[in-house]
Amino acid sequence: MINTKNLIKVFRTDEVETTALNNVNLEINKGEFVAIMGPSGCGKSTLLNIIGLLDNPSEGELHFNGYQVENYTERQRTNLRKENIGFVFQSFNLIDELTVFENVELPLLYMKVSGAERKRRVNEALERMNIAHRAKHFPQQLSGGQQQRVAIARAVISNPKLILADEPTGNLDSANGEEVMNLLTQLNEEGTTIIMVTHSPSDADRSHRIIQLFDGHIVTENMRQKL
């Protein structure tokens, strides 16, 4: 599903040049659950953002579903993203001015889904995330765990083939973290590919494969037994 060849990402300021990713070669198959680990600043999030088409690599190739996408325009990337990728962030990134329902509904609006269909799908997703009773609330009225469940509902609403999760439990206590990981695992079991950046070994244990990054390089790739 995802294939990178000699992926390089360099950040430049006037005087400093930082290589965040250095010759990263990676292949992720459909239905996989991959965890990316490594110390702070090793390039985990950069890799995730490039795979999520939020950022461009400086060099190298990126293939997504068979398409070579590293030179796509902003518009092409947006179109590809909204059809195929869902995002879950550490800091939830919900829009404060929108209710839970509206936050989850947002991707469908940009996909031009009809009103009735949107309503049906949003309600279904909220039920599934066990947050339907909070549909009319605003993000600030929810706990962290609830907010993250809303964010996951938003990520899955468009039935994406891939979910990218950047430290999804980073801001949560252990109980809520556990719940979020259960949801992600369940989604993966239903066929969604998941790539997750995490610091937590126990979260990583849920994955099929752990990729260790260090200073922009992949140092190890451990296949794991499915639990």
Binding site: S45, R75, K82, E97, Y110
Partner: protein
């Protein structure tokens, strides 16, 4: 999508109350001012348009060309002109003369008498040219009979009450009998021609000895209505030499002015036409709206930090930039619409005050399609202009930068430029209104060359010479009455002029100069306390003084007289000698310079009695009233203070300056909101820096000074731009005045002081807010 947009806007409006309030208030104030100005402009430009076929109506006016290069344009034309051109040019369908009844007439009906001065004397075609609706009586030709009079509904009610006025008799000045032939609607407030009654032209000949075949005397307005489709330029070209063709050596050209321009475009070049004010206020409206738009841009982009996440999330889940631009534009248009709602309420509330201020009967033109159309246009344009930059700026955020917390390309410079422009405009308005105020004050208070205080005058309706000598005898006996004199006009209203003047050494024709001419009685100079430079004033002690002239300094200079006293002078057929020169005094608005003036004693022309009284006004007036009532029992006692009339010269100007000052204050307030936006933006951006400085021991004073220095820099730059701009604009404006102030440095210093003070207070308030936050809170949420 629209629902979500509306929800988002409404919720963020509610959530960020202070910010929303500032934004909406700024826009609402801007839109309110613009609406008020538009309503006024609509009113001013709509003058006289209620007449049918108004595009076919023209005023015929004269341009008199003088040897000194002056061109003097007047609506006054010769009496035979109207009829003569109508006969000559088939294009002219109707023509009429019009003159205001000179002075007061006494109208008596049903045993009651009223002194009226609101009459017009016209030809019968007047009713074909102007379509003031006739509500009762003869509608086709109200002047079928020579002794017809047409009354307005108001005067008809005053004279006859509930009785049917048609066919009733009115006696004018106890001499002439007239019959009411029609009642006409009161002329609307936006009519240039106003009247209480209309008399047929024959009346003019009855009341005043005047040669109605004289092509050289200019007294009457001439209006024409041309056939449909007539090219007025062609007609004007044919008319141009019409007078010259009749009078040898005439210096007069004729021209046409569309009657719709009568109100706004004064042809007299000495006077500022109302169009000047219309243009200035349109400019002010545009400036205020721009200031409000800039304000919105500033406040909206200042909150960009808070919008960044929303933009990022929307983009991550599939929003395209175009859609986001639409979203932010929609938001600003929505804000403008709310502002319009508030503005409409504000306008409704303020209209009575604004109507008072402008002396116009203004109303919100809800049923005026053109007006509604322009208001919608303004709202749309304001929304787009104010939303444009925030939309482009905010939609350009890359989600990756937001997610990673990378600081984005800063728009601070542009925001500063906006605030500088905004402040430059407001400070310019501030300085301009200050200078306008000073100039008007100067005009009101400057020495006009005579003492205008404690001077009353009485306008006589008729029979001046049978009443005046006796009246003067009695009046002068009153304690507190110092001088009594008579004249054909008061120095606030000199309208007589002639170029038919001869003096020794005049080179014939090439030295034709327009002289103001005034007929004054004995003691005129003394009553007005004018300064005699040479010779003397008219006095009984020297006999009749009938062929003697007093001239002013300007006249002496124009005539190049060396030994003035005793020099011979001829006006028309009167040959006499100069007996005195008075120091120049102003007999018109100070906008106009002093023109050469000749005064002579001609009792036949007297119309006004001037009385110099003591300071204890009330008892003296009572005594004058008693004398009047016993001497002239039939005529009610009416008088005026010269000083009041003098103020009237500047009513238009002082009215306009009041409006100007009001709008300046508003512009300033909106600009302050803009500054507030910028300061809050900068403090928000700098809160991390400030927190760190505090952690490492800086106190708030240092932080305050740092910020203040930055803003002072920008405000001083705005001041500098405004100083240069307003100096040149005001120099240009002041050039239009014969008497003017020199622009002093005071107003510039004041503008600098006020703007810096406002900056100081704004920064202080924001810094205070920041100071109350503990550094750890700021850093934690960084």
């Amino acid at each position: 999508m629209l629902r979500i947009l509306l929800n988002t806007v409404l919720r963020s409006l509610y959530r960020q109350k202070a910010y929303s309030l500032m934004n909406i208030l700024g826009l609402a104030t801007g839109v309110t001012c613009t609406l008020l100005i538009l309503i006024w402009v609509e009113y001013e430009t709509g003058f006289d348009k209620f007449h049918e076929d108004i595009d076919q109506v023209y005023s015929v006016y004269e341009s008199q060309n003088y040897a000194d290069g002056d061109v003097f344009s007047v609506y006054s034309t010769p009496a035979p002109l109207a009829e003569s051109i109508k006969r000559t040019f088939p294009e002219i369908k109707y023509s009429t003369r019009m003159v205001t009844t000179w002075g007061q007439l006494i109208l008596s009906a049903d045993g009651k008498s009223f002194v009226e001065d609101g009459g017009k004397i016209v030809d019968a075609d007047f009713f074909q040219i102007f379509t003031f609706p006739i509500v009762e009586g003869e509608k086709e030709n109200p002047f079928k009979e020579e002794n017809s009079i047409v009354l307005t509904e108001k005067l008809a009610q005053k004279l006859f009450g509930e009785l049917d006025p048609i066919g009733r008799k009115i006696e004018i000045n106890s001499k002439f009998d007239y019959v009411v032939s029609a009642v006409i609607q009161n002329p609307p407030a936006n009519s240039s021609i106003t009247f209480d009654f209309i008399l047929p032209f024959q009346f003019f000949g009855k009341l005043w000895a005047y040669d109605l075949n004289d092509w050289e005397a200019n007294t009457f307005h001439t209006f024409i209505k041309v056939e449909e489709g007539v090219d007025s330029d062609d007609l004007a070209a044919q008319l141009q030499t019409y007078i010259k063709d009749r009078i040898k050596n005439s210096n007069v050209d004729l021209d046409l002015q569309a009657f719709v321009k009568y109100h706004l475009y004064a042809i007299n070049t000495n006077k500022v036409g109302s169009i000047w004010y219309v243009r200035v206020f349109l400019l002010v409206a545009v400036l205020i709206l721009l200031i409000a738009c800039f304000n919105y841009m500033n406040l909206a982009t200042a909150r960009s930090e808070r919008r960044a996440k929303e933009v990022a999330v929307r983009k991550v889940v599939g929003a395209q930039r175009k859609g986001l631009i639409g979203l932010f534009l929609g938001e600003s248009i929505f804000f403008t619409l709310i502002s319009l709602g508030i503005a409409v309420v504000l306008v409704e509330l303020l209209l009575p005050v604004f109507s008072d201020l402008t002396d116009r009967d203004l109303s919100l033109g809800i049923n005026n399609i053109k007006f509604l159309f322009s208001v919608s246009g303004i709202v749309l344009l304001t929304g787009i202009v104010s939303g444009s930059y925030p939309a482009l700026f905010l939609s350009s955020f890359l989600p990756i930068h937001v997610i990673k917390g990378v600081s984005r390309k800063d728009s601070a410079l542009l925001r500063k430029v906006l605030v500088v422009i905004q402040f430059s405009m407001s400070i310019s308005l501030f300085i301009c209104s200050g200078i306008i105020y000073q100039q008007l004050k100067f005009l009101r208070e400057s020495d006009v060359g005579y003492n205008k205080n404690d001077l009353i005058y009485i306008e006589m309706a008729d029979d001046f010479n049978s009443i005046y000598p006796k009246l003067k005898n009695e009046l002068i006996k009153i304690q507190g009455v110092y001088w009594v004199t008579a004249a054909n006009q008061m120095p606030v209203n000199f309208t007589n002029s002639t170029w038919d003047v001869d003096w020794p050494g005049k080179i014939k024709d090439s030295e034709d100069i327009l002289f103001q001419l005034s007929f004054v009685d004995y003691d005129f100079i003394e009553t007005f306390e004018m300064n005699v430079i040479q010779g003397r004033g008219f006095s009984k002690l020297h006999g009749g003084d009938s062929l003697k002239f007093i001239i002013n300094e300007s006249a002496a200079e124009k005539m190049n007289m060396v030994h003035t006293i005793g020099e011979p002078l001829q006006i028309w057929d009167y040959s006499g000698e100069v007996i005195g020169i008075v120091k120049d005094f102003n007999f018109n608005s100070l906008q106009v310079g002093v023109e050469p003036l000749i005064m002579m004693r001609n009792p036949a022309a007297f119309k006004y009695i001037g009385i110099r009284i003591g300071e204890d006004v009330e008892p003296i007036l009572n005594k004058i009233r008693t004398v009047w009532d016993s001497t002239v029992p039939d005529i009610p006692f009416t008088y005026r203070f010269l000083e009041e009339d003098f103020k009237y010269f500047y009513t238009a100007e002082s009215r306009m300056s009041k409006i100007f000052i009001s709008f300046t204050i508003i512009a300033f307030i909106i600009s302050c909101l803009g500054l507030f936006g910028l300061v809050s933006f900068v403090t928000e951006r700098k809160s991390r820096e400030m927190a760190l400085r505090k952690v490492f021991g800086a106190n708030m004073d240092t932080v305050f000074q740092l910020l203040l220095k930055e803003f002072f820099k920008w405000v001083m730059l705005s001041n500098f731009i405004a100083w240069v701009l307003s100096f040149f604009v005001m120099e240009w404006w002041l050039k239009g005045f014969a008497y003017r102030i020199d622009i002093g440095i005071g107003i510039f210093i004041l503008s600098g002081f006020v703007s810096l003070l406002i900056t100081f207070l704004t920064v202080y308030q924001q810094i205070w807010k920041l100071a109350l936050k503990t550094p750890v809170r700021v850093l934690k949420y960084e």
